[in-house]
């Protein structure tokens, strides 16, 4: 206790007062680290909010069930219930259906409608009708007694401004129907799923509404506690072909897995900001240690031990971390507002639908962010603290010093750096660990470290080469600047390191995003062909689980003379928890108008085989995730059929769900079982006409004849939407990137100011020797130019390597896809000079600072 008090006092006297003296410097660093911490924490919290909301919804909807019966891609026959309830081990069983539907009015938001038997479901899910909203008991009895009644979640009712007794018209694939509201759900249990945007109805009503008579999505089971795995196996024996018995967690886990992978990627990206902030802490603490060397010697001479010194500097790091973290709270508050929306949007479009309305603040995340922030700050302070503790107490004396102590030479550092960079090669070849590209991330870290270590050597070499040219062309200030940069070696390396990191990150992400976008644009253009797409109402959000109604199909035949109609059907399945879509399509017609984006296999050979239904093509993601490649067999249970088909080729595919497998629809019908059409695409036979106008005409005609019974998207609109989603997804990334650059800019500003301050005596001596203000300022400017240009150059080189790692290692391992490497030269050529100018602008305070105090007073100080 006494010890702690003493230490605190020492820290306040020695460090804190010094920081207060140089408030600007400390504030800049604090702001940098705070920004890093804010980004890191708010990104994690935002993804967590989505993850939590997803998991919670899944849990609430799954309820108490310990097993679930489903048929992959299809429905479970309802008459299984009788068999199931007869089983001794069955405590309860409840058939469930759910779908997204919406109120029939312009831009109404979809919500989840759940259908079950209110009596059978009692033991499964917790839900209660609000007492005030209807007589308890009566409301749910109404569901059974009266067709087309439903109970709304309170938030949904409030959003719709509806109350019990009111009615509303809901629309779905087959029809629009008027429902009566018999009550509202108390806000707990099931009513909390999807942030309360749910409604429940009786299963019979649900079936009538959707036209799925005798079928249910799944049957939730609860077994008696004495049930053994043998009993379970016996039940499985009774099930018809294709019906699977699984624990209810399976779907949840696959969703969580994807969100977690996304979280890891964003965390790493946001960690870059914190990493750049770490450079800032390092540079400040190192400056303090270096510029106060004499004071340290005095402290030692008056009785401080080396460990006192060591801990003072670690404490400086910790202090910056703690205060930075505190400052991060209000910053994060602002950021999170933006991120929460962006992230949940991205997750909804990329992975699984999530409804986020609140932030869940977990103690774990807060403690985690605190320790990461303080941890890296302390880590950043470690090296300067070690150096500080080695200051010999003897330096307190005026010893007629001749030489300087040898430091680690830039050459040695360069060798270390080269070693780090070389390690990147084998690391990038390692497989992912637990589905996460950890070796890839380690490779990236080593790449940064390697380049930062190379920086001093590069500075020495380049300024050496340039010095004579500088002297001749730009005069003595440029020459002196070059010399200074050469001799300062390791001191300037830190800020150059920070700049390299930020520029590399910038370059790499610009390249990656551009490659990604180009590839996706090409893929969209080549494969999402079709002039008009048609699905049943709300087909997209309900994953095409409802057929295009027969009258619609019948009517569409009338257009056969002008258009080719290509039916398709998608099944959303999982392969060892990895979700993918199995798509049946009219290969013949498709390949007449569009083409796959081939990656592996000979297209000329594969095309006829695909048309002949001899096998499937799979997406790159599917292949990477499952390990299946050309020649292997794709096997899956699809509705009642067990499908086994050879993989003919691998294609690029960037659909949001990840994996995809394509097969010929007519051949599936022949070989396995007939399937309904989930959607259609139209191609106009006459390609020379004004296609936009033709599409518009066709669209109006269909609406005129059929009414508002289907969803239609023009091919152009769809392709545009894909790219828009893409851009929205990367908006978050771009913001993170800009913040990292901002922090690096702060780094440059501090380092240069520090370099000036450290040398005020020298600069004043120069002044005394006859240098003009102009010359000295120009010298400082040249120094800045040197550091910035070299940092930028190294950063760009590092960035190119990094972009390769990101595209071919990290993306491949965490998402399963790669892109065609493409460099956005326009953006790079435009932004690189911009960064240089900005960085030089960051040097201005330093240039201004040179003679803020009159030269004479400086000469007297030591």
């Amino acid at each position: 206790m006494k010890m702690l008090l003493f230490f605190l006092r020492l820290f306040i006297w020695f460090s804190l007062r010094n920081m207060r003296r140089h408030m600007g410097r400390a504030a800049t660093v604090l702001f940098g680290i705070a920004l890093g911490a804010a980004v890191f924490t708010s990104v994690r919290l935002s993804v967590n909010a989505s993850l939590d909301s997803f998991s919670k919804s899944m849990d609430l909807i799954a309820g108490q069930a310990d097993h679930v019966l489903t048929r992959p891609g299809g429905y479970v026959p309802e008459n299984l219930m009788a068999t199931l309830l007869n089983q001794e081990i069955m405590q309860s069983a409840s058939p469930v259906m759910s779908t997204y539907t919406r109120v029939s009015q312009a831009d109404a938001e979809p919500f989840l409608l759940i259908g079950f038997d209110p009596i059978l479901d009692r033991p499964m899910r917790q839900w209660r009708v609000d007492d005030q909203s209807g007589q308890q008991g009566a409301a749910w009895l109404d569901l059974l007694k009266e067709p087309y009644t439903l109970i709304l979640g309170k938030p949904l009712a409030h959003q719709l401004k509806l109350a019990p007794g009111d009615s509303l018209i809901l629309e779905h694939a087959r029809q629009k129907v008027r429902f009566k509201i018999s009550g509202m759900l108390e806000p707990n249990g099931l009513a909390l799923a999807e942030s309360g945007r749910i409604a429940i109805t009786d299963i019979a009503t649900f079936q009538e509404f959707t036209g799925l008579f005798g079928k249910v999505d799944r049957i939730d089971l609860k077994l008696v506690s004495s049930a053994t795995s043998k009993d379970l196996a016996a039940v499985e024996q009774l099930l018809p072909e294709g019906i699977q018995l699984n624990p209810p967690t399976a779907t949840r886990e696959s969703g969580q897995m994807m969100i977690r992978a996304y979280q890891l990627n964003l965390s790493i990206l946001s960690f870059a900001s914190l990493f750049v902030g770490m450079f800032l802490v390092y540079s400040l603490v190192a400056l303090n240690a270096a510029s106060r060397r004499h004071e340290l010697a005095v402290l030692r001479a008056t009785g401080a031990s080396a460990y006192h010194i060591f801990f003072i500097f670690l404490a400086e790091g910790a202090f910056l971390g703690i205060v930075g973290w505190l400052v991060a709270i209000p910053l994060g508050h602002i950021l999170i507002k933006y991120l929460l929306h962006g992230v949940s949007q991205t997750i909804s479009t990329l992975f699984v639908r999530v409804q986020v309305d609140a932030l869940s603040l977990s103690v774990y995340e807060i403690v985690f962010s605190f320790f990461v922030t303080v941890g890296i700050s302390v880590l950043a302070a470690y090296q300067p603290a070690r150096e500080a503790m080695q200051v010999p107490p003897k330096e307190a004396l005026e010893i007629s010093q001749l030489g300087m102590q040898a430091r680690i030479s830039p050459r040695q550092l360069a060798f270390g750096g080269l070693g780090c960079i070389l390690l990147v090669v084998p690391l990038s070849k390692l497989p992912a660990i637990l589905g996460m590209p950890l070796p890839g991330y380690l490779a990236i870290f080593l790449l940064f470290v390697g380049f930062a270590l190379l920086a001093p050597w590069a500075l020495v070499k380049i300024s050496h080469i340039l010095s004579s040219i500088l002297l001749k062309r730009f005069g003595i200030p440029a020459y002196l600047a070059g010399r200074y940069v050469r001799d300062s070696g390791t001191r300037t390396a830190v800020s150059v390191g920070a700049l390299i990191t930020a520029v590399a990150l910038f370059t790499a992400l610009v390249i990656m995003i551009f490659s990604f976008r180009q590839t996706v644009a090409y893929w969209t253009y080549e494969t999402i062909k079709g002039d008009l797409f048609l699905t049943s109402k709300m087909g997209q959000i309900n994953r095409f689980r409802y057929p295009v109604p027969q009258p619609v199909i019948d009517h569409l035949q009338n257009y056969r003379s002008q258009v080719d109609l290509l039916p398709n059907r998608q099944f959303f399945l999982t392969y060892d928890k990895f979700p993918y879509v199995f798509e049946l399509m009219d290969m013949q017609g498709y390949m007449q108008y569009a083409s796959f984006f081939w990656l592996k296999g000979d297209p000329d050979k594969i095309r006829p085989m695909l048309k002949g239904g001899e096998g499937v093509v799979v997406s790159e993601v599917f292949s990477n995730r499952t390990g299946l490649s050309v020649g292997d067999f794709f096997e899956a249970q699809i509705e009642e059929s067990y499908v086994k088909l050879q993989i003919l080729g691998i294609v690029r595919d960037y659909r949001t769900q990840g994996g995809a497998v394509f097969y010929s629809l007519p051949h599936f019908n022949k070989r396995y079982h007939p399937v309904y059409w989930g959607g259609l695409r139209f191609f106009f036979k006459d390609r020379s006409q004004d296609l936009d106008a033709a599409v518009a005409r066709l669209r109006t005609d269909i609406i005129d004849r059929l009414g508002d019974r289907v969803d239609m998207y023009s091919g152009k609109g769809l392709r545009g939407a894909v790219l828009r989603i893409f851009d929205e997804t990367f908006a978050v990334t771009t913001v993170l990137l800009l913040i990292a650059l901002l922090i690096a800019g702060l780094g440059i500003a501090t380092t240069l100011s520090v370099l000036v301050l450290q040398r005020s005596r020298q600069l004043n001596t120069l002044f005394a020797l006859g240098a003009s203000f102009r010359q000295i300022r120009s010298m400082i400017f040249w120094e800045a130019a040197f550091l910035v240009v070299i940092g930028e150059l190294a950063g760009v080189i590092c960035g190119f390597i990094l972009s390769y790692l990101l595209i071919y290692v990290v993306n491949r391992q965490s998402f399963g896809w790669t892109f065609i490497y493409a460099v956005d030269w326009d953006a790079l050529l435009l932004s690189i000079p911009l960064i240089i100018i900005t960085a030089l602008a960051a040097a201005l305070p330093a240039v201004k600072m040179v003679f803020r105090r009159p030269p004479a007073t400086l000469l007297r100080e030591r």
Binding site: F6, L10, R17, L299, G303, P392, K394, A396, G403
Partner: protein, 231 residues
């Protein structure tokens, strides 16, 4: 232990400190034999570069010899660990420097208290003593001033108070008047002499000023790292 040896507080045999500079070896001090009894006032004279600071740094436990033996107040300084050296600096010696070496972020009082705090004493027990010292040195009205706000003479007196706070047996002063005008130089020298006479401290002053010549009980000359005279 004989009476004679117990009175000896500093004893050196063949004491040497050389520096490696690239391939060449620079001599700081070389083969110094020395015996100084408790209570002496030693004045160390010599040109710049003759090795005065080097010798003092060894005696103060700020540095280690490269050869020879060195015992100071029964501490064997060439075999002491870093921790023992730190302890030694806290308890046995007080240093006064040419450029005062006050910590710029600490006020006068805090600077004086610091060595006691480092030695593990509390501020409450240290303060009265520090005040007393500062009063004796006639700078009690400057307690809460930072070094930058003090004059050279005031700074050096504060530094002397700091050197005394832990009651060291030995005071080592390296050019204590080097940065002072002659009046303040005289005051500082008188104070050091008073410490020796009244308080019975062993005092070593390295200087090339003549101010201390008359008060010395031992005069020692150094040249090129070796003793040229001892009287």
């Amino acid at each position: 232990m004989t009476d004679e040896s117990s009175r000896t507080v500093i004893s050196a045999k063949g004491l040497t400190r050389t520096y490696q500079l690239g391939d060449s070896e620079v001599i700081g001090i070389s083969q110094i034999d020395l015996d100084i009894a408790a209570g002496e006032l030693v004045v160390l004279k010599g040109n710049s570069g003759s090795g005065k600071s080097t010798l003092l740094s060894l005696l103060a436990g700020l540095d280690r010899p490269t050869g020879g033996e060195l015992m100071v107040a029964r501490h064997d300084l060439n075999h002491a660990s870093d921790i023992q050296l730190t302890q030694f600096r806290r308890q046995v010696v007080g240093m006064v420097f040419q450029s005062f070496n006050l910590l710029p972020t600490l006020n006068a009082l805090e600077n004086v208290c610091l060595p006691a705090l480092l030695a593990g004493k509390s501020l409450v027990e240290t303060r009265p003593k520090a005040m007393e010292l500062l009063r004796w040195l006639e700078i009690e009205d400057r307690l809460h001033h930072l070094p930058a706000q003090l004059s050279g003479g005031e700074m050096q007196r504060t530094a002397i108070a700091r050197a005394l706070i832990n009651d060291p047996a030995i005071i080592l002063a390296d050019e204590p008047t080097g940065n002072l005008d002659s009046r303040n130089g005289q005051i500082v020298m008188d104070l050091l002499a008073e410490l020796n006479r009244k308080w019975n401290r062993t005092v070593l002053i390295a200087t090339h000023s003549t101010l201390a010549d008359q008060m010395a009980s031992v005069r020692m000359g150094l040249k090129d790292g070796m003793i040229t005279s001892f009287a």
